[in-house]
């Protein structure tokens, strides 16, 4: 998992103060976790109940992903769990954030992570942008 490019995308998300945890998962299965940074301690006490609730949400995602379901979220105690679904799959990027975080700003970066992970899924040999060398990244505008 250490060299998994998707894990490196999750590492980037975990560095944001208000991302307490993030994973790529499907029902009953966590596919990818961050490689270098663990979840923030805030979620430890509530992880078990969040995990159970997540699995129920994945049932809905599995049912409606093909119909265009792209995002879901729920609030549990002081946390919000955001699901960014990978189109036409039962997989989602899941992020746990504080219930009253500045969610709009976080959403922008979670969406950037979803797009980057999608690119990696579609082209498994590709490195994430954060691992690329400078001359690989940008074009003239």
């Amino acid at each position: 998992m250490r060299d998994d490019p998707i894990a490196h995308v999750l590492d980037d998300l975990m560095r944001l103060d208000d991302i307490y945890a993030c994973i790529v998962a499907r029902r009953n299965m966590i596919s990818v976790m961050p490689s270098s940074e663990g979840f923030k301690p805030e979620v430890n006490q509530i992880w078990d109940v969040i995990k159970r609730a997540m699995d129920d949400v994945f049932t809905v995602i599995g049912e409606y992903s093909g119909a265009g379901l792209s995002e879901m979220e729920f609030r549990l105690q002081d946390y919000e769990v955001l699901f960014y679904v990978f189109p036409d799959t039962e997989n989602a990027l899941v992020a746990i954030v504080p219930a009253l975080a500045n969610k709009g700003l976080l959403e922008v970066e979670i969406e950037n992570a979803r797009r980057e992970i999608l690119k990696i899924m579609n082209n498994p040999t590709q490195k994430p942008n954060s691992q690329k060398k400078d001359d690989e990244v940008y074009v003239t505008a």
């Binding site: 980037d12 560095r15 944001l16 009253l100 500045n102 969610k103 709009g104 700003l105 976080l106 959403e107 922008v108 970066e109 979670i110 969406e111 950037n112 942008n129 954060s130 400078d134 001359d135 990244v137 940008y138 074009v139 003239t140 505008a141």
Partner: protein, 434 residues
């Protein structure tokens, strides 16, 4: 017509401040064949924790040709040809032979906004007075609001205690003067700048952190500043114009401001009653609905349209002190409309804004937009990026999110607004291009 304009967007998503600084400069400079006339640089506040902004600028100057005029600062997020981001750094570098450029700086903006504005504008005036180019543009970029820390309370947007609020209202002016914490006073600086440089087209933007309003930094060449105004002045033969749009719509809810306070920065009474309870009643919100936690999810989405020196000004209400509402600019009393805004209206405001520039074949564009738009739309802000990309195609554009923005042109006068999109497009007249 063969374009002689070279522009490039620099971009970095690296976490380490020095590496990010180097990368944002490298990715821009490598796409130019000549040194840039200017380098506009924006970064999110994250680099403060990952090496600091001194190191960030050191990284930029590792790469950027010495003497390049550079201004910018921290912002809540940005958008460019590559996407929309609330973390990282981006730059706009422009190289064009028929362009004169000057930068200016003024310090202590919260303590003495007029002096800072005057000092900053004079630097532009003196540097560009010999320029023979008739089209003039100014980016007026100002340190944004910083929540003052109240003893025993800390930095809060909502203060419930009447005693603390009374103290805080009285201390607001003192806090601005002594420790330079408080409102950005960008409206006052912008007005003074317009007075100094009336023949310029201008965009106003403010420096911010990640929507928390705790700190912000400005960049001026190789210096990191706080509580400063920085100007980029451009004189060129390129065609240019500015435009402000917002998606706010008036509702049938109105009230009358009957008492102002804190140097006309606070609404104390509306309809002759304490302002906050009366506002809650007008909005059908229960007593106690507004708290420190709910502020940014509720009241910011109900802007109000009020008057400032006779001009209509749509603003958000960023702080509550017991029964009074603090507003981001100096206001007049009188009739006020409560506005409403939706995601669809915000996106339509961008389309409307770009339509204004239909006659210009763009070379590059710069935008300041309200950070509450970013907070409201979240990742749907990518829809705006697609609109901009569709307009600019392979030409560079850079939008930064701030807290208090506006435009000025000699034809349309000052437009100061919250929740707005403010654009300058440089280019050629389409008829001449064809």
């Amino acid at each position: 017509m063969i374009s002689k304009t070279e522009t490039a967007i620099g971009m970095s998503r690296k976490w380490d401040a020095r590496e990010a600084g180097r990368e944002v400069a490298e990715t821009a400079i490598k796409n130019l064949t000549r040194p840039p006339n200017f380098f506009l640089l924006f970064a999110t506040i994250h680099y403060e924790k990952y090496g600091g902004f001194k190191e960030f600028l050191n990284g930029v100057w590792d790469v950027l040709p010495k003497g390049t005029p550079l201004v910018g600062g921290t912002v809540a997020g940005f958008m460019n040809n590559y996407g929309c981001f609330s973390r990282g750094a981006s730059a706009l570098a422009v190289s064009y032979p028929c362009m004169d450029v000057a930068v200016g700086v003024g310090k202590n903006t919260k303590r003495n906004p007029y002096r800072a504005a005057k000092q900053c504008a004079e630097m532009i005036q003196n540097s560009l007075k010999e320029s023979t180019y008739k089209n003039k543009f100014l980016l007026n970029f100002i340190s944004g609001p910083v929540m003052p820390s109240i003893p025993g309370v800390g930095q809060k947007k909502y203060i419930r205690s009447g005693f603390v609020s009374k103290f805080a209202m009285q201390a607001l002016g003192l806090s601005q003067a002594l420790v330079q914490k408080g409102l950005g006073r960008e409206d006052e600086i912008f007005e003074k700048t317009v007075q100094q440089l009336p023949d310029y087209h201008m965009i106003l933007g403010t420096s911010m952190d990640d929507y928390k309003g705790m700190k912000n930094y400005q960049f001026f060449n190789d210096k990191i500043l706080t509580n400063a105004v920085v100007n980029l002045g451009v004189a060129t033969d390129l065609n240019l114009d500015i435009c402000t749009t917002h998606g706010m719509k008036a509702t049938d809810l109105h009230f009358t401001i009957t008492k102002l306070g804190a140097g006309n920065h606070a609404i104390c009474k509306i309809n002759n009653k304490p302002a906050v309870p009366e506002l809650l009643q007008l909005l059908h919100w229960p007593e106690g609905f507004l708290t420190e936690e709910t502020m940014s999810h509720t009241i910011l989405y109900y802007p109000i349209s009020l008057k400032r020196r006779g001009r209509e000004v749509p603003i958000v209400m960023p702080a509550i002190m017991k029964d009074s509402i603090v507003v981001p600019c100096i206001i007049d009393d009188g009739e006020v409309s409560i506005l409403t805004v939706s995601g669809k209206n915000l996106i339509n405001a961008v389309k409307e804004n770009l339509q204004f520039f239909d006659r210009i074949q763009p070379e590059f564009g710069l935008f300041s937009a309200c950070m509450t738009i970013l907070q409201t739309l979240g990742h749907k802000t990518n829809i705006i990026q697609e609109e901009l990309l569709n307009y600019f195609k392979d030409k560079s554009f850079l939008l930064f999110y701030s807290a208090g923005e506006g435009t000025y042109s000699p034809m349309t006068d000052i437009t100061y607004a919250n929740m707005s999109f403010n654009t300058v497009v440089f280019g050629h007249d389409k008829k001449l291009s064809n």
